[in-house]
C-alpha cells in the first residue's frame, strides 16, 4: 500500500451509496471530536487485537488451545470503531469470533488468553473457551457459539434498557451467514415492532465458513436492506475504515438513544485466516489473490495508520514501536496463561446454578431451594 492511499476507493460494497472521502470523514463531528491521543489509542487497540490473534494462533499450533479458534485478523476496525462509541448504558453482544470485541471493551489479554488455555485465571474460569468470553462489568455479554443465537439476547438487552427508562442501547454483532437464521429474523421483527434501541451489526466478511455470500443469501443490493422489511433504518459501511465505522455507528447510536430507533448496519470487511484455525480449506473457496488484495490494499490497520500519518499524528518509527509493544503484551499473556493453574476439578460443579453457588448468602433464596439438584458429582462433592 502506498503512503498516500487512504482507502477511499468505493471497493467494499456494491450499493449505490458512495463512501465519503477520508478528509470528509475526518471532519465529521464524531471523528473531529477525537483528540490525537484518542486516535493513537484506537490505532493501538487494533494493533493489539492483531498481535493477540497472531499469538493465539501460535498457541493453538503448540497445542495449548483446544477446540475451535476463530480469528479476527482483518476485521479489527469494526469492533474497535463501534466500541469506541459506547457509553455507560450501552451494551454489546457478539458471536464466537469474539476476541476483538473483548479486547476493545477493555478485557485484558491475560484473562482472554488464559480462558483459551482452559485456565482458572481465564475470564470465564476456563469454562467457556475461545467462543465464550464474557465481561458483564464492561457491558460485554459474550461470546456465543450458536450462529445467530445471540441476536435475540441482544434484543433483550435493548428491551431491558427501554423498560428501565435508561438512555442506552445494545450493539448486537453477527456474521453474514447468521442473517439467514430464523432467530435473527424474529429478533429483527421484535426490534422493529417495539422500536427498541439496538444496532444490529452484520460483519460481512464475505464468507460463512466456506460458503460465499452469493451462495448463502438471497439479496439484491446488500444484506442490511433486510432491515427495511422490519421497519428499521439501515446502512452500509466500509468496515475496514475506522472513521466510517465510527461515523455510521454514531448516527445509529444517536437514533437509538434519542428516538429509540433500531438500525441494521452492514459492515464490509474481510477475515484473513480460515474460518477457524482448523479450516484447511481457507484457500480453496477463495483465491489467494483475493486475500492478498485485502491485505495489501484494504487492511484496516494500514488504512488508519496512513490516515494518521497524513494527519501528522503517527510516524513509521512509532507504528513499529506500537506493534512491538503489542506483541510483547501478547507474549506475556501467553506466558501468564501457560503458568496459570487449571481449575480444580471441583470447579466443574460450580457456576451452574446461582442458588448453589450462593448458598448461605441469601436466606430467602436458600429457603426456596431444597432437595437435590446435582445427580452425578463424580465424587467431587464428597471430596469437598
Amino acid at each position: 500500500m502506498s503512503d498516500t492511499d487512504t482507502g477511499t476507493e468505493n471497493l467494499l460494497y456494491p450499493g449505490q451509496e458512495q463512501e465519503p472521502s477520508a478528509e470528509e470523514l475526518a471532519k465529521t463531528e464524531i471523528n473531529a471530536a477525537l483528540s490525537p491521543e484518542d486516535k493513537l489509542r484506537l490505532y493501538t487497540e487494533m494493533v493489539r487485537i492483531r498481535a493477540f490473534e497472531a499469538r493465539s494462533l501460535r498457541a493453538y499450533q503448540q497445542g495449548k488451545i483446544g477446540g475451535f479458534l476463530h480469528l479476527y485478523e482483518g476485521q479489527e476496525a469494526v469492533a474497535v470503531g463501534c466500541v469506541s462509541l459506547m457509553g455507560p448504558d450501552d451494551h454489546i453482544i457478539t458471536a464466537y469470533r469474539d476476541h476483538g470485541h473483548a479486547l476493545a471493551v477493555g478485557m485484558t489479554m491475560n484473562e482472554c488468553m488464559a480462558e483459551m488455555f482452559g485456565k482458572a485465571t481465564g475470564c470465564s474460569k476456563g469454562k467457556g473457551g475461545s467462543m465464550h468470553f464474557f465481561a458483564p462489568d464492561k457491558n460485554y455479554w459474550g461470546g456465543h457459539g450458536i450462529v445467530g443465537g445471540q441476536v435475540p439476547l441482544g434484543t433483550g438487552l435493548a428491551f431491558a434498557l427501554k423498560y428501565q427508562g435508561k438512555k442506552g442501547c445494545a450493539l448486537a454483532f453477527m456474521g453474514d451467514g447468521a442473517v439467514n437464521q430464523g432467530a435473527v429474523h424474529e429478533a429483527f421483527n421484535l426490534a422493529g415492532l417495539w422500536q427498541l434501541p439496538i444496532i444490529f451489526v452484520i460483519e460481512n466478511n464475505k464468507y460463512s465458513m466456506g460458503t460465499s455470500q452469493a451462495r448463502s443469501s438471497a439479496y439484491d443490493d446488500c444484506l442490511a436492506k433486510r432491515g427495511e422489511a422490519y421497519d428499521m433504518d439501515w446502512g452500509v459501511v466500509n468496515g475496514n475504515n475506522l472513521y466510517h465505522v465510527r461515523e455510521k455507528t454514531a448516527e445509529a447510536i444517536k437514533r437509538a438513544h434519542t428516538d429509540s430507533r433500531p438500525t441494521v448496519l452492514e459492515m464490509f470487511t474481510y477475515r484473513y485466516r480460515g474460518h477457524s484455525v482448523a479450516d484447511a480449506n481457507a484457500e480453496k473457496y477463495r483465491e489467494k489473490k483475493e486475500i492478498q488484495d485485502y491485505k495489501t490494499n484494504r487492511d484496516p490497520i494500514a488504512l488508519f495508520g496512513n490516515i494518521l500519518k497524513a494527519e501528522g499524528l503517527l510516524k513509521d518509527e512509532q507504528a513499529k514501536e506500537i506493534e512491538k509493544t503489542a506483541r510483547a503484551e501478547a507474549d506475556a499473556a501467553a506466558q501468564f496463561a501457560d503458568k496459570s493453574p487449571f481449575p480444580n476439578p471441583e470447579a466443574i460443579l460450580e457456576d451452574s446454578y446461582w442458588s448453589v453457588d450462593n448458598k448461605g448468602k441469601d436466606a430467602d433464596i436458600d429457603a426456596l431451594n431444597q432437595g437435590r439438584i446435582i445427580f452425578e458429582d463424580g465424587g467431587l462433592l464428597k471430596k469437598k
Binding site: H91, I93, G122, S124, K125, G126, K127, G128, H132, F134, A135, P136, D137, W141, G142, G143, H144, G145, I146, G149, Q150, V151, P152, L153, G154, T155, G156, L157, F159, A160, L161, Y163, Q164, A170, G182, A183, E186, A187, N189, L190, L193, E350, D351, S352, Y353, W354, S355, D357, N358, D364, I365, A367, L368, N369, Q370, G371, R372, I373, I374, F375
Partner: protein, 324 residues
C-alpha cells in the same frame, strides 16, 4: 378456607409478583389484550397495562431469547408458552442461552427468568400439542423444573419461580386449570425440592408429579376400598431440584413403589427416580420398582384412545397389584 381454580391461583401469583417487584413482567402470545389463550392472565392487562403485560408475536425463539437477554440486565420476565409443546422452536434459546450462559461466563451472570405454560396430553389435540418436556428440560444443568399438581402448589411454586435467581420452567396442565382447591388468602410460597405427601400409607408408595399425582391419589382410593391396601402418595412438585430424601423415606416406609407420570417412558423422569431408588434404597425394596407412564407412542388424537394412552387410576392399581 376459600376455594379457587388452578388458573386463578396462577393469576394471583402473577399479580402479586407484578405488584411486589417492578422488574416483573409477563410476556407471551395473547397474554395481554386477549386475556390469555387459557385465560390465566385474564384481567391483568386491564389492571397493569402494556408495560407489565406484553403481547408477543408468534415468535417463541425471538421472545424467549429477548426475555433471557432482558433478565441479564436485572428484569424478571415471566414468559408464557401457549403450550410447552411450542418450546421446541425456542430450544436453542431455552437450553443453550437459558441453561448455560451462567456457566460459560464462569458465574459472572445469571438468568432469572420464569418460563411457564401448560405441558400435558389428554385434550385431543394430537402429538404436536401434547408434549411433556419436563424430562428434556431437566436434563440440562442450570435449569429448574417444577410441575404443580394443584392450585395451592401452582400459586406457591409460581411465586418461588419468579423470585429465584436461576431459570425456572413451570409446567402446568390445561386439564387442571378449571379445577378448584383450597388456597389461603394470605401470601405464602412453596420451596422447590420439597415433595408433598398427598396421602399417608404403609403398604406401597405411589410417586408422581403433575396431574399424575392426582391419578395416583385416585388409585390409592381404589387400593383402599377394593383391595384393602394402604398406599402412600408422594407428589414431587419439582423435578429439579428433586426431593430425594422424601422419595427414599417413603420407599423405606412401604418397601414397594409404583412411579407414575404422564411423560413418555424412555428416559422419562421416572427412569432417573427409579435409578436413585435402586442405588440408594435397594435393601429396602421388597419388590421390583414398577412404572406407569404414557403409552410409548406419539400422542394419539382419537378421544377414547387418548384416554387409554395416558395413565389412569385403573392402570396404576393393576401395576400395584403385581407387587402387592
Amino acid at each position: 378456607m376459600r376455594k379457587i381454580t388452578y388458573r386463578q391461583a396462577i393469576k394471583e401469583a402473577l399479580a402479586e409478583e407484578i405488584e411486589r417487584d417492578e422488574n416483573v413482567f409477563v410476556m407471551g402470545e395473547e397474554v395481554a389484550q386477549y386475556n390469555g389463550a387459557y385465560k390465566v392472565t385474564e384481567g391483568l392487562w386491564q389492571k397493569y397495562g402494556d408495560k407489565r403485560l406484553v403481547d408477543a408475536p408468534i415468535s417463541e425463539a425471538g421472545f424467549v431469547g429477548l426475555g433471557i437477554g432482558a433478565s441479564m440486565l436485572g428484569l424478571r420476565p415471566v414468559m408464557e408458552f401457549m403450550f410447552w409443546s411450542f418450546c421446541y422452536v425456542a430450544f436453542d434459546q431455552l437450553l443453550n442461552n437459558g441453561s448455560f450462559c451462567r456457566y460459560m461466563s464462569g458465574g459472572l451472570m445469571n438468568v432469572p427468568i420464569t418460563v411457564r405454560g401448560p405441558a400435558n396430553g389428554g385434550t385431543n389435540v394430537g402429538a404436536t400439542h401434547s408434549h411433556t418436556p419436563e424430562n428434556l428440560c431437566a436434563n440440562h444443568p442450570g435449569i429448574k423444573v417444577v410441575c404443580p399438581s394443584n392450585a395451592y402448589d401452582a400459586k406457591g411454586l409460581m411465586k418461588t419461580a419468579i423470585r429465584d435467581n436461576d431459570p425456572v420452567f413451570v409446567m402446568e396442565n390445561t386439564l387442571l386449570y378449571g379445577q378448584e382447591w383450597e388456597v389461603p388468602e394470605d401470601e405464602y410460597i412453596i420451596p422447590m425440592g420439597k415433595a408433598n405427601i398427598l396421602k399417608e400409607g404403609k403398604d406401597i408408595s405411589f410417586i408422581a408429579h403433575g396431574r399424575a399425582a392426582i391419578t395416583a391419589l385416585e388409585a390409592a382410593g381404589i387400593m383402599a376400598s377394593e383391595h384393602d391396601i394402604d398406599a402412600e402418595v408422594l407428589d414431587l412438585r419439582s423435578i429439579r431440584p428433586l426431593d430425594v430424601e422424601a422419595i427414599l423415606a417413603t420407599v423405606k416406609k412401604t418397601n414397594r413403589v409404583v412411579l407414575v407420570e404422564e411423560n413418555k417412558p424412555f428416559c422419562g423422569v421416572d427412569a432417573q427416580i427409579s435409578h436413585i431408588i435402586q442405588e440408594e434404597a435397594f435393601d429396602h425394596l421388597d419388590a421390583p420398582i414398577k412404572r406407569v407412564s404414557s403409552i410409548d407412542a406419539p400422542q394419539i388424537y382419537s378421544m377414547p384412545l387418548e384416554k387409554i394412552q395416558i395413565p389412569d387410576a385403573r392402570r396404576v392399581v393393576k401395576k400395584a397389584l403385581e407387587i402387592c
